[in-house]
């Protein structure tokens, strides 16, 4: 046998046994046994023949056992089988788990390799505690038996088939025994509502550390809500809580108090679903001292006209904060929270077209206020601005959006420049001129804020030459334009000759050498695309002798 990696002959390879050795073996051992049958074979009486049959059958039946015994002895010489059980268990524990966290079934193959592996694997309950109920219910039950008292990690994901009552009963009846529970139902014809799973999670879950519930709810016929009495209020080890597509979240539940990570995505189509006032949400945050990651998505309550919020909620303990919601609700929320300068922050907002101007202006003011606070120490700050009707049209792409990502790269220098990534997709009819968003934002940046701007224009934007001139005159820190093919003509008209094409068939990007004269900080080019391991998508070709912040020679 050759080792696959090195091509080295290994000692466990089956040795060549010549025919003569085999023949000798049989004449010495099996031959003597056969000799006892000679007399039986010559008999003609029925009783003698019957006895011979029995004797031969016995020999035939014994052979597999003998072969098995020989092979077991041979395996005992194999280096892998010489390893102590705990080391074998260590190897088996690396049952590959893909990125999505669902357990696979390598263990099934492992228990069928040889007797020793089966004995060791089955004798270690902790190997069997990660169970994917969606693969094969028979195996799930076999694994549950083998796991014994090991805390369970149960995963169930349904996309084509429906979640069965057995699935639900199995989960509900073992809540006290589960450490990690992940329930994903993407079957829009089922949504698990028939089983009311989301409402049956009311037993105590003393071992539960992580919980993720995702239920597709495409037809919106019914609000999916989590019970206020979830886990009977008792899940003292619960640290991660993630729910998607619910209409109501039990903010006052005591099981939230120990959370480290909370991700909530409520069904934004459920406008009239019951909701907690904003103060309840703030109260809930204050009851979670260990909280480090918060990702609320469409879960802020509708505004009440007389509602005033002057409180300041300290969220400086967060290391990551991602908010995506209606622009007005988000603005109000952001006015009340205090974030850590070091928190990785992403804020998305959604507004209707009819109030885009006012909403964007208002929210930019809040964003810039946070940006100003973080000027010296924020390592990274992202803004995601979504402008369109997506709030009203569920599950559809926004009609138009503008996105601004602002990154401050990790640097030993306190005054690392902010890198703004300005992304535009489709025109904004109400705005009449998409550049207004950029203009508004640039106008609000503090004068002392060092920033570098990239502009990314995607398919469908129909900017005029005047728009482009406006952009370039506003953005005196623009270093790069990245544009899609459909807008190329306009950009070419505006900026002149295309010098270099780069990209795949669907999306072409080009470099405009004129922009090199607008570049403020050529040295920062490598930071323009601050994603680890990836180079900047475009190379600007310009003389390195250009001084920073020198603006000259715009050729339009």
């Amino acid at each position: 046998m050759l080792d696959g990696r090195k091509g080295i002959e290994v000692e466990t390879a089956r040795s060549d046994v010549s025919d003569s050795i085999a023949s000798s073996y049989w004449s010495a051992s099996a031959g003597s046994r056969l000799a006892t049958l000679e007399s039986a074979l010559s008999r003609t009486d029925p009783a003698g023949i019957s006895g011979a049959y029995k004797q031969l059958d016995g020999e035939i039946l014994a052979l597999p056992t003998a072969l098995s015994t020989f092979r077991t002895r041979r395996n005992a010489l194999s280096p892998i089988c010489c390893l102590p059980p705990e080391t074998l268990v260590h190897i088996f524990s690396f049952d590959p788990t893909p990125d999505d966290g669902k357990p696979t079934y390598n263990l099934m193959h492992i228990t069928h390799v040889c007797r020793r592996w089966r004995v060791v694997a089955i004798g270690c309950p902790s190997l069997w505690g990660r169970i994917n109920l969606a693969v094969d219910p028979r195996w799930a039950r076999e694994m549950l038996g083998r796991a014994k008292a090991t805390p369970l990690s149960l995963f169930i994901e349904r996309s084509q088939d429906k979640m069965t009552k057995d699935d639900v009963d199995l989960i509900v009846n073992r809540l006290h025994h589960i450490r990690d529970l992940r329930l994903i139902n993407r079957n829009i014809d089922d949504t698990a509502r028939s089983c009311k799973l989301h409402q049956r999670l009311t037993a105590p879950a003393p071992l539960l550390e992580s919980f993720w519930l995702h239920i597709s709810n495409a037809d919106h016929e019914e609000w999916l809500t989590l019970s206020e009495n979830i886990f009977d209020g008792h899940a003292p080890r619960l640290q991660q809580f993630k729910v998607d597509n619910l209409a109501y979240f039990p903010w006052q539940s005591p099981v939230l108090s120990g959370l480290v990570e909370l991700s909530i995505s409520l069904d934004s189509s459920s406008f009239s679903a019951p909701s907690h006032p904003l103060n309840d949400i703030f109260d809930a945050f204050e009851r979670m001292p260990a909280l480090r990651i918060v990702n609320p998505y469409s879960c802020l309550p509708q505004l009440v006209s007389h509602e005033q919020h002057n409180r300041v909620v300290d969220l400086t303990r967060l290391s990551q904060f991602t908010l995506f919601d209606d622009v007005c609700l988000s603005t109000q929320f952001m006015q009340c929270v205090r974030l850590s300068p070091g928190a990785e922050t992403e804020i998305g907002l959604r507004c209707s077209m009819t109030r885009a101007d006012d909403s964007i202006d208002a929210f930019f003011a809040v964003l810039v206020a946070h940006l100003g606070v973080s000027h010296c120490v924020f390592p990274r700050l992202e803004f995601y601005t979504d402008v369109g009707d997506s709030m009203l049209v569920h599950d559809e792409e926004p009609f138009a959006y503008v996105r601004i990502d602002a990154h401050r790269t990790l640097s030993e220098e306190d005054n690392a420049p902010l890198i703004l990534y300005f992304h535009v997709d489709y025109a904004l009819p109400k705005y009449a001129n998409s550049t207004k968003v950029l203009e508004t934002f640039c106008a609000m940046l503090p004068d002392n804020m060092d920033s570098v701007l990239r502009l990314d224009v995607h398919t469908g934007v129909d900017w005029t030459v005047d728009d482009w001139v406006g952009i370039l005159s506003i953005a005196n820190n623009l270093v790069e334009i990245h544009a899609a093919s459909e807008s190329t003509d306009t950009i070419c008209d505006a900026l002149g000759t295309v010098v270099e094409w780069k990209g795949d068939e669907d999306e072409h990007a080009f470099v405009c050498p004129q922009l090199s004269s607008l570049t403020l900080s050529f040295a920062l080019l490598e930071n323009l695309y601050p994603y680890p391991g990836q180079p900047p998508p475009l190379a600007l070709r310009m003389p390195q002798s250009l001084e920073k912040r020198q603006r000259s020679g715009l050729q339009l």
Binding site: S68, R74, H90, H112
Partner: protein, 173 residues
């Protein structure tokens, strides 16, 4: 238990800040190594504690070859002074050993050598090395069928027909 033989002080030089240990492999090679390097091994550490209790110095006989022992020493030398969670006896054991790039290159050896290293690491109680070896072996059989696993690791199917068709076997579908 390892065989411990008394050695003359002159056999093991070194007094002071960095003491030396004499390790003797199964092929009777004598390898002198600094105690600090081998402190990652719980087994060696316990042996050294025993030496201090008796005020005697010993050679430590180990049941694996000098080739394997040198590989283990190379590993311990690389991580000398590094804190690895798996080797901290006071820390809660991590669920799985983390991926360490250097380890992956270090363990890019033939299968038998890999198995010898993990056995030695287990004997010496170097949990981080056991973990890295286990990961490397698991990578070898990842996604493989039962038959392929047998082929890769040189194992025979020693099940009787009845065992092969046990109720749990039927579940493999």
């Amino acid at each position: 238990m390892p065989t411990i033989v008394s050695v003359d002080d002159s056999t093991v030089p070194g007094e002071g800040s960095s003491r030396l240990l004499l390790l003797v492999s199964s092929d009777n090679k004598h390898i002198v190594v600094e105690e600090d390097i081998m402190s990652r091994s719980r087994f060696i550490s316990k042996q050294v504690e025993g030496f201090e209790a008796t005020s005697q110095r010993h050679a430590i006989l180990l049941p694996f070859s000098s080739f394997v022992l040198n590989k283990v020493i190379e590993y311990c030398s690389h991580y000398r002074g590094y804190y690895l969670l798996e080797d901290d006896p006071d820390a809660a054991p991590p669920g799985r050993s983390p991926v360490r790039e250097w380890d992956q290159e270090f363990l890019d050896v033939d299968r038998n050598m890999l198995l010898r290293i993990i056995k030695a690491a287990h004997y010496l109680e170097i949990k981080s090395l056991v973990g890295s070896c286990a990961r490397a072996i698991a990578d070898m059989i990842r996604g493989k069928t039962t038959e392929e696993m047998r082929e890769i690791l040189g194992v025979e199917n020693d099940f009787t027909p009845e065992e092969e068709h046990s109720p749990s076997s039927k579940c493999t579908g």
